[in-house]
Symmetry: C2
Subunit: 323 residues, 2 copies
Amino acid sequence: MANQSRRASPVVAISGGVGGAKLAFGLYQVLGPDRLTVLANTGDDFEHLGLQICPDLDTLMYTLAGINDAQRGWGRAEETWTFMQALDALGGETWFALGDGDLATHVERTRLLLRGHSLTAVTDRFCRRLGIRARLLPMSDDRVQTRIETKDEVLNFQDYFVRQACRPKVTGFHFHGADAAAPNPQFVASLNDADLAAVVICPSNPFISVDPVLAVPGVRNALLKCPAPVVAVSPIIGGKAVKGPTDKMMVELGLPVSTATIADHYAEVLSGLVVDKHDARSAEVIGVPILCTNTLMETLDDRKQLARDVLSFARRLRHSNHR
Amino acid sequence: MANQSRRASPVVAISGGVGGAKLAFGLYQVLGPDRLTVLANTGDDFEHLGLQICPDLDTLMYTLAGINDAQRGWGRAEETWTFMQALDALGGETWFALGDGDLATHVERTRLLLRGHSLTAVTDRFCRRLGIRARLLPMSDDRVQTRIETKDEVLNFQDYFVRQACRPKVTGFHFHGADAAAPNPQFVASLNDADLAAVVICPSNPFISVDPVLAVPGVRNALLKCPAPVVAVSPIIGGKAVKGPTDKMMVELGLPVSTATIADHYAEVLSGLVVDKHDARSAEVIGVPILCTNTLMETLDDRKQLARDVLSFARRLRHSNHR
């Protein structure tokens, strides 16, 4: 019992793929088993080759299980690519790379979904098998599809992101199906936990990784009502995105590429913002509490240190009654 | 024109998996491009992990393309098995081994079938991509499922063959759906070709590889009416099956394990039977013309030599008016 009372309070993280997954893994390491809930963006999900692919969910799953490929930045470690080579030989579509091991996730998930299991149930099953002691949840069991608006056309997410390598100039975003989607009930329930230490918005792309989550009816409101502080980690460091098109999108949308834009973006749901030391000066003008620290996660220690910094920042916010 | 007139006459082969595929490959090598039609048993086909698997069709395709694994006896050469390992880790069904490269065939085929392509069209597409200049046809585009009757129950084919490793004692066979299936129209048309040199029943299991083909309405009659001789190669050598449960099934069905049983089995459709030199004596009592030769195909040369022997036997049968 003494042991239990010393256990860390639960934490909820909201995350997209690679960048967010690094902090999610740091939080998991620092908090220990059965303390962390990670809500994953599923706006990138799509059907390909008849298989249900969930890129962010899988990046998080592989990362939390410690079987992700850190070098490549996505997919599984010790992966082989025989399937893709054989598919190419048969004249199949090869623009979306699927590793042989990764394929098992998609084939088995598709099979279970067709049998009537929810995406939440399938994800839980896989996570248990992989020994993950964090709770990984899709943002919704309903289909939400992120679409990229450009001057001339509306693109499906993977068409924009992979096939066109983020080249088209973005004018806006649409989360198809979000209006009718229900938020993950386990996520909503976890926000009502009086013991909750923090909600962490991971350093993911705000437009295409976090906004799909916030577009699901009830999520924004649940965050506003949540007794725990909501802390975002800026994905912008020194006026640039560490990875992906966040900065490019800001430019195209006519927004300053800065941590202030991140703060404005999350606006009323935000209790505090974590920015990199390189952005200390620009952060002075932001209207929310700020923590300046090292947010570039190059090593495992970086991830754990950032997780600790975020959690102690949340603790301070809580005590000073910012939530 | 002179060249064309010297080309070999077309040949049709009926085949199951591994054993039959060896002779089909020999015939392909000897006949050259665009002369051979191979009709594949699809009674073994089944859905697994949501994918449409056609074991005999694929064994033939990989063999004709020269990308089969000769050592293992099934599947593709230079195969990897990362998918199976990952599937096992996720708690998926692993009793049916699927190589990573092999998987591309099943995933792409399933996708194309769901889009409304016929199995014949999908097979043709794959064969063209793999550079196969023989025509590989499924026996039917309709679903026929071989079921194994035992004393206590009726087993699905792969349940009997793979999961239970042919252990149950066989009492009979049922080809579910055969009554309502249409034979492959290209196969039927090829039998009406006046120039046809031979129909070769490859040394496959008569009960579970060839009988499903013969069970499709119209096939038996088309063979009877066919102007070319129908020559079977016995899968029994020296009172034993080279591979698979043919001899075991004969014992269980109360039949002598002999080439005479093969001749009786095909009975009226047969113009001649090719038996191994080891069976020369037992073959004397069989009521059809016999060719005794080496039928054990250990090397590529063995396959080509048997193909040449079968074709010249058919030529002699034709001239002596056995058909």
